[in-house]
């Protein structure tokens, strides 16, 4: 069938598949990096105190961390493969620049995190407490480092630098390694993203604590987790202000069409900040409550800075200046406005909610310390992690949808990046499989993690000096079947 080979149709399906798999992947990655910090901090505390309670807490967080981390690792393979499988022409175009950070990510970060994860899971009895602590931090460091490399790659697609496009438009060639790696949006994107995942970790930590307060079970741990989450949360939420400002400035500077879509601004001029509203695309106006010039202020600290509107960024373009762009594929330079607008404002509103929730958690903790607190408040904090979750996903929708119709901004159109060798039918089959398989994984993960949280940290008797038998990944399965044939260990 013609349709299944049509570039528009195939690239649309490939986008759908990428969106599904990357969103799923990025449910677990932020949790891993965010909770990784909580885990490493808890382990550090245990290392210092050797208190059985801290040991229970560190094992508790390790379990949740491992269960989550492994899904992030496994679904990350999808992403590395998908450039070649679904975006072959894209890969040919960008390989000279985009491939290096991916290879570096595997070499410098994946090896680090996977090897030391093995030690963290299985090695507690085999190495000293100090080396174990170092391993915990190395796993976390590895995951943060891998985020750096992949965000370098992503940032280059948003704000390409340090390259030349061959005169025949066939591919981009690297001319300046540091220019490409530290392109205009790398640092802003990295700080913005990492801070956002740490906020999520903090909110999960608070939520688990609030759950114990709600259940009146493990109340001491409950208070401890709310407090720990609250501290990390306050620091990271405040840090988000300069990081978000940096990100906004880069978008304003480098991606005018995205900025215009974020605020639904059609005419050139100072950019307003809408609190809530929608874009009426017919009349080219934003209906809602807005603060005049505030987006200009956020991006440049000046209410009157003028930015181009969507009417200016729509194109047409001079194709001789864009050798990688096929004239027949180009249909204007603007992203889907409503989606970008709403996703952006959702993110902003949810940032406000995060501040509110930190205050709620503060009130809850104060009450809990006095032994008197409202259950309703604890309930709210339990559902708190949904807020940064939604903000993170909608932020990425702004970044990725806002870049459309480009896959590499102003260099290559998304529609031209598809794989001619893959038919639409094949992608439909794999989308269906991804949906089923990922649902199974999600259910498996949710059952386990909720089970761990319900069970809570298990304080075992001991003086804390002796690590005792470790039940990190559960020995229930073995002890049930092992009684019959008791075997001696070799060597």
């Amino acid at each position: 069938m013609e349709l299944f080979a049509d570039p528009g149709f195939v690239s649309g399906l490939a986008r759908a598949q990428f969106a599904i798999t990357v969103i799923f992947h990025f449910l677990f990655v932020p949790l891993s990096i965010g909770l990784g910090l909580v885990m490493a901090l808890t382990e550090t505390r245990y290392y210092k105190t050797r208190d059985p309670k801290d040991r229970a807490a560190t094992l508790f967080w390790l379990r949740i961390f491992i269960t989550t981390f492994i899904i992030g690792v496994a679904t990350g393979i999808t992403m590395e493969f998908s450039f070649g499988t679904n975006w072959a022409n894209y890969s040919r175009f960008v390989g000279d620049i985009f491939g290096a950070p991916l290879a570096a990510e595997a070499l410098l970060a994946f090896f680090l995190e996977s090897v030391f994860l093995g030690i963290v899971i299985f090695g507690r009895k085999r190495i000293s407490a100090k080396l174990y602590l170092i391993s915990c931090w190395l796993v976390w460091f590895g995951s943060a480092l891998s985020a750096l490399w992949i965000l370098i790659a992503n940032s280059w697609m948003q704000t390409p630098a340090g390259y030349d496009v061959l005169p025949d438009g066939s591919k981009a060639v690297i001319t300046d390694f540091w220019g490409a790696a530290l392109n205009p949006s790398t640092i802003a994107r990295y700080t913005h993203t990492v801070d956002s995942v740490l906020i999520l970790g903090a909110f999960v930590c608070m939520a688990v604590g609030a759950y114990y307060l709600l259940r009146k079970k493990n109340v001491e741990f409950g208070k401890q987790f709310v407090k720990r989450g609250l501290i990390i949360g306050i620091v990271t939420v405040i840090l988000m202000l300069p990081f978000a400002h940096m990100q906004a400035s880069v978008v304003a500077e480098e991606q005018p069409a995205k900025l215009a879509a974020m605020e639904g601004q059609y005419e050139d001029g100072p950019a307003d900040l809408t609190i809530i509203g929608f874009v009426d695309e017919e009349s080219e106006e934003v209906v809602g409550i807005s603060i005049p010039g505030f987006t200009s202020f956020l991006a440049s600290f000046d209410f009157s800075t003028e930015y181009p509107g969507l009417n200016s960024t729509a194109g047409p373009i001079d194709f001789s200046a864009y050798p990688g762009v096929k004239a027949e594929s180009y249909q204007g330079g603007n992203p889907p406005v409503q989606l970008v607008f709403q996703a952006y404002h959702l993110m902003i509103i949810f940032y406000g909610l995060m501040v509110l929730w930190l205050i709620l958690a503060g009130v809850l903790l104060k009450g809990a310390n006095k032994g008197k607190y409202s259950k309703g408040l604890a309930y709210l904090v339990v559902f708190g992690p949904l807020i940064p979750f939604v903000a993170i996903q909608s932020g990425w929708v702004v970044a990725e949808v806002g870049r459309q119709p480009w896959v590499v901004y102003n260099l290559l159109l998304t529609i031209d990046g598809y794989s001619p060798a893959v038919s639409g039918i094949e992608i439909i089959i794999t989308i269906a499989l991804f949906l089923v398989f990922y649902l199974v994984l999600f259910i498996a993960w949710l059952r386990l993690v909720l089970g761990y949280i319900k069970k809570g940290p298990q304080v075992s008797a001991g003086d804390g000096k002796d690590d005792g038998p470790i039940d990190l990944v559960g020995s229930a399965a073995v002890s049930e079947g092992a009684s019959a044939a008791k075997l001696k260990g070799g060597e």
């Binding site: 493969f81 025949d168 794989s419 073995v478």
Partner: protein, 374 residues
């Protein structure tokens, strides 16, 4: 085909051809034994404790091993993007099967111990997730050695290789030679797995007894399959090679290494030395990757003039179309990109080797039942 002069750029391209081969070899050797262990899992381990022994033997190690594949893929993308694009999109459904296998296997290994309710599901996922990549690894290599049908709008040297897409369809990938290579790879992986379990299982365990038996039989099967693949290759595949495949003659050297390695390993296996047997079976992967690299050089993906019909292809593999193939020169990255990658590797590879020393030292020796943690 070959550039007139060999400068720094060409040297780097050749270096990266070797490095990609070495990364794939690293994957074959290291992940080989844990994929093999996963395939043998339902057969050598029956009780919960036996299953736990097998899982424990690969538990701390498999994740780092698998990164060799991700690094290999990343290196292919970075150094030879058109080859990465053509192979990954051309083998789409097969790659997706590998992917689903790797995903489920990863999660099965970590969840199996704790998730008592889904035990059977995770056991199955561990097996199938190990089986699919082990089978398809060889199938992909077989197709590439034989050459695949490639679209004909390929620009010549230095070009972007746009249009060098696979045009043969899914079923042409199931040609006899590729299927034989799939079996070759599969048997090699399982043999490594058997040798590994024999090395790691407690001395007086039933698992070890079964693994030793499997190791002995599989090792013979490996030789039989190797001879069969070699015969088919020499009779039907090598004659289709373009003369540009200048290093193909050295494949015979690696075939010799395979045979010598096999004989020596047989002695170790007969003597029952677990460590030397395990080291010995790894000569197989070395030789097989060596044969692949030499018979392809300077190609990454040779283009074959495949007849379009499945049945005609089943009778005869297509003749190489020398100028359409993706070589390390026409699909290689720019000098600066490869230089940057080389520097990154010089920093990263020593670290990677140190990590491996650390983890293999930490978990040296046989699995102790008292230590089983899942």
């Amino acid at each position: 085909m070959f550039p007139a002069e060999l400068g720094l750029h060409e040297f780097l391209q050749i270096l990266w051809y070797l490095l990609v081969a070495i990364l794939l070899l690293g994957y074959f050797i290291l992940d080989g034994f844990d994929l093999g262990a996963g395939i043998l899992y339902p057969f050598v381990a029956k009780t919960e404790e036996e299953k736990a022994i097998v899982r424990q033997s690969v538990g701390p190690l498999w994740d780092g091993n698998e990164v060799w594949l991700l690094t290999g893929g990343g290196a292919l993308f970075a150094a030879f993007a058109p080859a990465y694009a053509t192979s990954f999109s051309g083998f789409y459904l097969a790659i997706m099967l590998v992917l689903f296998g790797l995903i489920f296997r990863a999660i099965a290994i970590e969840y199996r111990g704790t998730d008592t309710k889904w035990r059977k599901f995770w056991d199955g996922a561990f097996f199938i997730g190990s089986f699919l990549p082990a089978l398809l690894f060889g199938a992909a290599i077989g197709n590439i050695i034989g050459g695949i049908a490639i679209g004909d709008t390929l620009p010549l040297t230095g070009g972007p290789n746009l249009g060098s897409d696979y045009t043969g369809g899914f079923f042409a990938l199931l040609n006899p030679f590729a299927l034989l290579c799939a079996v070759m790879g599969l048997v090699a992986f399982i043999t490594q797995g058997a040798a590994w379990i024999a090395l790691k299982a407690p001395l007086d365990s039933v698992v070890r007894t079964r693994a030793i038996a499997a190791r002995s039989i599989l090792h013979i099967v490996e030789l039989v399959v190797f001879v069969l693949v070699s015969l088919v290759a020499i009779l039907f595949v090598v004659p289709t090679f373009a003369p540009e495949r200048v290093a193909a003659v050295f494949a015979y050297v690696f075939a010799g290494i395979f045979i010598v390695g096999w004989v020596v390993t047989r002695l170790f296996i007969t003597k029952g030395n677990d460590l030397l047997s395990f080291l010995g079976v790894n000569v197989g992967p070395i030789a097989l990757i060596g044969i692949t690299a030499t018979s392809l050089f300077p190609y990454l993906i040779p283009a074959a003039d495949n007849p379009s019909g499945v049945f005609t292809y089943f009778l005869l593999p297509g003749q190489d179309v020398a100028e359409k193939g993706l070589t390390l020169f026409n699909s290689g990255g720019s000098e600066l990109a490869l230089l940057a990658m080389t520097i990154i590797t010089c920093i990263g590879l020593p670290l990677v080797l140190i990590y491996h020393v650390i983890i293999y030292r930490t978990f040296r020796g046989r699995v102790k039942v008292s230590e089983i943690e899942y």
